[in-house]
Amino acid sequence: MQERIEMITLEGRTGSADGLSPEEAAEILAGLSQYPDNQAMSIEALKIVQHHRGWVSNESLKAVAAFLRLSPEEVEGVATFYNLVYRQRVGTHVVRVCDSVSCWIMGCEALVGELQNKLQLTLGETTADGRFTLLPGPCMGACDHAPVVMVGDDYHFDVKAEAIDALLKPYRQKPL
């Protein structure tokens, strides 16, 4: 991941790709063509790095900042604002339970309880094997299928507490 890459530029807008993988640098570069300046790419660049590494460490953040010729502080200011940029290590599968109003009416609290039992952790924690992190999440735009749980990018609709094992099973079986 950390191999040295020469300066890659888009109309002279980007700096050294040190600390980024060739794929990451290429994806960020491709995204940059959508925007007139580098700052606009900062959030997407963090998401690209997170996609490859699972989360955004201080080193990753600095590498993104250097590549986009922004100060690390600027990028950190953005990174800490958006809740889907993970500045802590998270599990391979982030399980998010919607705790907003329609899902709450339809019993999301029972789901949180059941998930905590099955995963043997409390909200905000990651399993010892690094497979799952359990988080609450705001309305996921599927309230007609409340209660809703997301695992990574996958939506799970009309989730029943009894069905949590079945829901988790495919993610338990995926190689880490």
Partner: protein, 423 residues
């Protein structure tokens, strides 16, 4: 009823590819627009009486007319607000996943009307299926010269980009959205200047909701009179209504503007689930005031719902049943807004957590008689005009109306020192 926005959307239907979309009249509205002068498109949309579907119901044509006239080729932007995070709202996801071309066509019409060269779709991060379908549709259009340079030989240039967000409800507020798109923290900007004058990177910018854009192809194809005729009341067109909560068949349905609430609730949502009784509802998302039984026969019409003391908002009902504690429901909502506050202005940043704390105390049986006055104080303190953006005023709408319609529930919590709904 004639389906307009959802004619390609339904169970077992796949989103139409470009060929199919064009075969059923797709991009005819856009072609009509290209044959017109931009100002004529603005006038036509004004005449159609289309009001923004993002929540505030602002007239779309009028919004566009605030873009100052400029030199040809001047940089301007059109942005689609596809951030959809209002609790209880899921209509935009449905429209984007179900018929991406209809939405793109709307954006392209708007771009021609305000002579924008570039457009951005600000999409909430979770909507990855919509993202894939939009990206495919954009590529199809680029290959077909419906996007890009000298579109269909008209001389009009327009390129469209998909921007996926990274969370935070406040990104839906249009000026916060613009900051977010620029790669900044999503705090709102002062208005004026309005985005139409100085928006994205300081350039004239129009921001509209996904559903607003979806109406445009039909208006340009069939004309304003036809569109006005779709509504049962003064408001024009159809609207994606919906209902969630303990109703029999939660969902979303395209119905004429002015459809009576009772029809949405009873006929489409199927009424309450067995064993649950109706108590009230938020008519248009988590930031709208409660309405109750006496309002069920009102039509879904902006001004009527406004006069009844609430807002039509996103038009998606959240139904409260008799076994759900109204105090806890309001607590859930206030917590959401407190968490999603951007923290820029003190009344909202400090006030919402404080109001949430009082609600929690009441809900857990530690409430005092004067807490209700304190809560009422918060609803005045966070009213429009006292905060930097509309998040905080929206946050206290369910609270202020719950204090009015469900006051006895608050009082019972305080008297019984606990929640009467918990067993």
């Amino acid at each position: 009823m004639e389906k307009v926005l959802t004619r390609h959307i339904g169970q077992g239907m796949n989103p139409p590819r470009l060929v199919d979309y064009q075969q059923s009249g797709g991009y005819e509205g856009f072609r009509n627009a290209l044959r017109m002068k931009p100002a004529e498109v603005v006038d036509l949309v004004k005449a159609s009486n289309l009001r923004g579907r993002g929540g505030a119901g602002f007239p779309t044509g009028m919004k566009w007319s605030f873009v100052p006239p400029g030199e040809p080729g001047q940089v301007r932007y059109v942005i689609a607000n596809a951030d959809e995070m209002e609790p209880g709202t899921y209509k935009d996801r449905w429209l984007l996943e179900g018929d991406p071309h209809q939405f793109l066509e709307g954006m392209m019409i708007a771009a021609h009307a305000v002579q924008a060269l570039t457009g951005y779709i600000f999409l909430r991060c979770e909507y990855t299926l919509a993202a894939r379908r939009l990206q495919e549709a954009i590529e199809e259009n680029t290959r077909a010269n419906l996007l890009g340079k000298n579109i269909l030989g008209s001389g009009f240039n327009f390129s469209l980009h998909l921007h996926s967000s990274a969370g935070r409800y406040i990104c839906g507020e249009e000026t916060a959205l613009i900051n977010s798109l620029e790669g900044r923290r999503a705090v709102p900007r002062a208005k004026p200047p309005f985005p139409q004058v100085s928006g994205l990177w300081g350039k004239p910018t129009v921001v509209n909701n996904v559903e607003t854009f979806c109406n445009l192809p039909h208006i340009l194809r069939h004309g304003p009179e036809w569109f006005i005729g779709l509504g049962l009341v003064k408001d024009a067109g159809t609207k994606i209504f919906g209902a969630s909560g303990r109703v029999k068949t939660p969902g979303a349905w395209e119905l004429p503007m002015g459809t009576p609430i009772r029809e949405i609730f009873e006929k489409y949502a199927g009424g309450m689930q067995d064993g649950y009784r109706f108590r009230g509802f938020l008519p248009g998302g988590g930031s709208t005031d409660f309405l109750v039984e006496q309002h069920l026969d009102l039509p879904m019409e902006y001004d009527v719902i406004g006069k009844a003391g609430s807002r039509m908002g996103t038009g998606q009902l959240i139904v409260l049943d008799d076994r759900t504690c109204p105090v806890a429901m309001v607590l859930n909502l206030v917590r959401f807004f407190a968490q999603e506050s951007c923290g820029w202005c003190t009344p909202c940043r400090d006030g919402l957590p404080h109001a949430g704390h009082i609600l929690m105390e009441i809900e857990q049986g530690r409430g005092q008689a004067r807490d209700l006055e304190k809560l009422e104080g918060f609803t005045r303190f966070l009213a429009p005009g006292n905060t930097y953006c509309a998040l905080a005023p929206g946050a206290v709408e369910p609270l202020q109306s719950a204090l009015k319609y469900f006051r006895e529930d608050f009082e019972r919590h305080i008297q019984q020192k606990g929640c009467p709904y918990r067993h």
